[in-house]
Amino acid sequence: MAALAESFGRGAMTNQYNDLKNADVILVMGGNPAENHPVSMKCILKAKKERGAKLIVVDPKFTKTAAKADLYIPIRPGSDIAFLGGLIKYIIDNELYFKDYVVNYTDASFLVDPNFKGPEDLEGVFSGYDPKSRKYDKATWKYQLDENGVPKKDPSLKDPNCVFQLLKRHYSRYTLDMVSEITGAPKDKILKAYEIIASTGKPNKVATVCYAMGWTQHTVGVQNIRAMSIAQLLLGNIGMAGGGINALRGESNVQGSTDQGLLYHILPGYLPVPKASEKDLKTYFEKNTPTTKEPKSLNWWKNRPKYIVSLLKAFFGDNATKENDFCYDLLPKVDDGKTYSWYDLFDAMIKGKVKGFFAWGQNPACSSANAGKVREALVKLDWLVHVNLWDTETSSFWKGPGMDPKKIKTEVFLLPCACSVEKGGSVTNSGRIAQWRYKAVEPPGEAKPDAEIIDELFKRIRALYQREGGAFPDPILKLNWDYGKDHVDTKLIAKEMNGYFTTDILEHPINKKAYRKGEQVPNFTLLLDDGRTACGNWIYSGSFPAEGNLMARRGKEDPTGLGLFSNWAWCWPLNRRILYNRASVDPYGKPWDPERAVIKWDDQVKKWVGDVPDGPQPPLAMEGGVLPFIMKPSGMGTIFGVGLSDGPFPTHYEPVESPFPNVLYKKVRFNPVAKISDTPLDKLILGADPKYPYVATTYRVTEHWQTGVMTRHTDWLLELEPQMFVEISRELARKLGIKSGDKVWVISPRGKVWAIAIVTSRIKPLKVMGHTCHVVGLPWHYGWRWPEDGSGGDSANLLTPPTYDPNTMIQETKCFAVNIVKAK
């Protein structure tokens, strides 16, 4: 998501699942929709059948998606940027980019600070690298500005310092030979893929990309996605029907959770969590409100103050006033330069700094990389509250393998919660569609919906503070919390997310209309920064206006035939189905591809027709027109991404635990700013080690979900995939004397798990840098707690490494070093 936000402005899938049917080329890389998003295959197969679309699958193993592909290319785990860098080079060298799009809608023509240097100049790092802190000083990562503060441009794309030329130079060594040497993929197939993908750099041809955790779970995860974003911008495929970059998200409501600020660094609606140094609201505004001098840039984030003030009004109600900075002081702040990610938590537990832990709807004892460390971290706690449908490996960690219950003092509380069909509310899918759903049955026994558990917990904590006071009671006591007396009414939460007026307004400064106190805000364009509006999540503003709950709509009309289904549920932002759709038209508002017009400018009525446009302003070339990427201060699709921790251009680094050198940069093997845990339980192999000669990767199967807590308890699913397995090639099996069905041990520096060997032709040894590279694959669905007889095995995450992407702190569970031995 970080990559998509950096490239285009929003951290979300650009298009929709059912828009996949509109594509001419579908690249599936870092994902396996047939296995993990089966319903999306309906649309992919439809594109193949009805449009003759080409499906290309790039994956270390021949997947179920590959089984439907026109072209399958095997690739070594962790070599995606080499493959994609080669694609970028191919597009540029053969001039297959969509020039009008690139010049008008991307920063390709922008001139970059001449002091900026890339890894080609500095033997593997970008300018500003400090090896001591392993961080970048980004002072040189910037555009050159003219006297008005507007980025200088060269629309001819010839200036040696323009982004386009820098990009060209950056990927100049990503030749077919080099790509093949790094990835292990055969040259003829790489070339074939490049030809097919690059054929869409035309106005009337579109490629789409589907990815998932196969791209994110790397120490270069964000950069994997950035590389493809750049290729898609060059080909002019963003904003188009059948185009975009589609993050097929791993959980039904994970987009919704991210939208609500579940991550440590964002508040609801992607507002940054304040830093300790941002001591008042004014400073927060100054540091977090992007500005631009680009005359045609809408720079939508200039509205951030409206959203944070409205959020504070929703949080703290009448307690939030202009005089007290709308209770800004009551928001938690993070220390500058510190991360508080998932993995930081467990490291802090190991170090004895965190004593209590809510593990809510999750099973970290199986889901976390280096899960053995997590299990040890739980031992250090005073208390653990586990909210789940079942007793899991997390709640029962104290009696797990290798644990001595007598020596563990952690007090564990297991709170049973309702499952998805036992409660009502909204679910937001990958395509940002928030759909209201209804309770089908009552939860069993004492189980309650999560919201009710939180509500009761909050009320009890508040009562305690009221009775006994405390060090800092105000954040709790001043909170505006009223979602029902005995039961939580999720509609009240949804209405607060949409936002409401906190006072009568006789004439709204924006649309001059009158609104009454308590009335629902029509949408976020009417939010204010003076406290007269409250809004729990600005991107959901418009989902529940005065006329009702739009998320509950079930209209099946599809006037464009593109599958937008604009009256089905509601989609953030403003029910816009395809993001950046202003880039699907030329500067006069004429669709690049009239046959798949997402929007078009109607000259007669002076309005856009089709999807909700990404900004209602007229087309770029007309009076009052704006640039298409309204969330970026530049207004442009971003090739030169200065917001990331590890470089403005993606560049190939080996996985941290790779047996291979970096043939591009001898001195820098892996991402120089990758995050690595350093507790005594974090063991790593750096460089080739004959003890762990094989490259392992993890994945999921259709039949199980995440750590398998729900699916291992579903007998019909367990029947289909009953046991931990490891897929290995026929060649490796022969070498190790292993037959299909044999029990083997898979061993990494962190731990070992047993698995049943599936010997298959679907995984092949790869030729990498003159050596044979054996890839093996394991699922991470199993755990010792269930099935109760232990027949399922345990989690693959006992093996995975404590190394993370520096931008997101996502773990590198897609490539690590293992050994395999036959079990006796």
């Binding site: 179920k64 089984a67 009953p722 299909s740 069905g741 032709s761 027949s791």
Partner: protein, 238 residues
Amino acid sequence: MRYGLLIVPDLCIGCRACQVACKSWNGLPAEKTKNRGTHENPLDLTGYTYNRIRYIEKITPKGEVQWLFVSQRCRHCGEAACVKVCPVGAIQKDEATGIVFYDKNTCIGCQACNQACPFKIPRYDKEGKVSKCHMCIDRVKAWLVPACAKTCPTGAIRFGKREELLDWAKKERYKVIHGEKELGELGVMFALSQEPKYYELVEKPVVREDLIALGQILRVLAAKKVPITKSIIKRLFA
């Protein structure tokens, strides 16, 4: 009007939602399985598994891998050997739909139906009673689509009037429609882009010619209360 299922392996992604939906609708218990070095499970049809997806790995002459997903289940033959051979009429053909269904209460567990079936489909539950796909006749009679077809996300299992299914397969130009003409026109057909053998389907299913006679004899014996056991049937079919 004959109804049927058209199965399209080219559209099947092997998700096995059909396998689960079948168990769910029919209230069939899960079996305790093991991973035996393949994703396929259970390893065969049983008295509690009416439909299973076979995962077939192939290497093409060019050395490319292929992975085929093929449903294994009752084909609902027009000239159903099981119906002909059953001594007690426990398996019957529904005149209205062409569905081959059965009545466990009538079944005497002689297993003649499995012996006679050219696809070796019928299985037996713990009580020895016949079990197999009945094309969700209970749903179909209530104007509902069979559970497997209802749940299939990609349209790889299509339910409908047999003629319309055939028209669709022909319009889509599939190379072979396996079951179009075989055995008095099968109710469950496969639309294929390769020869049936490639998908490990029974290429030319045949019903033994002596079956009708055998069935007649068995029915006479059954009517006279002569016990018809598994071992007798085995010997008759040997």
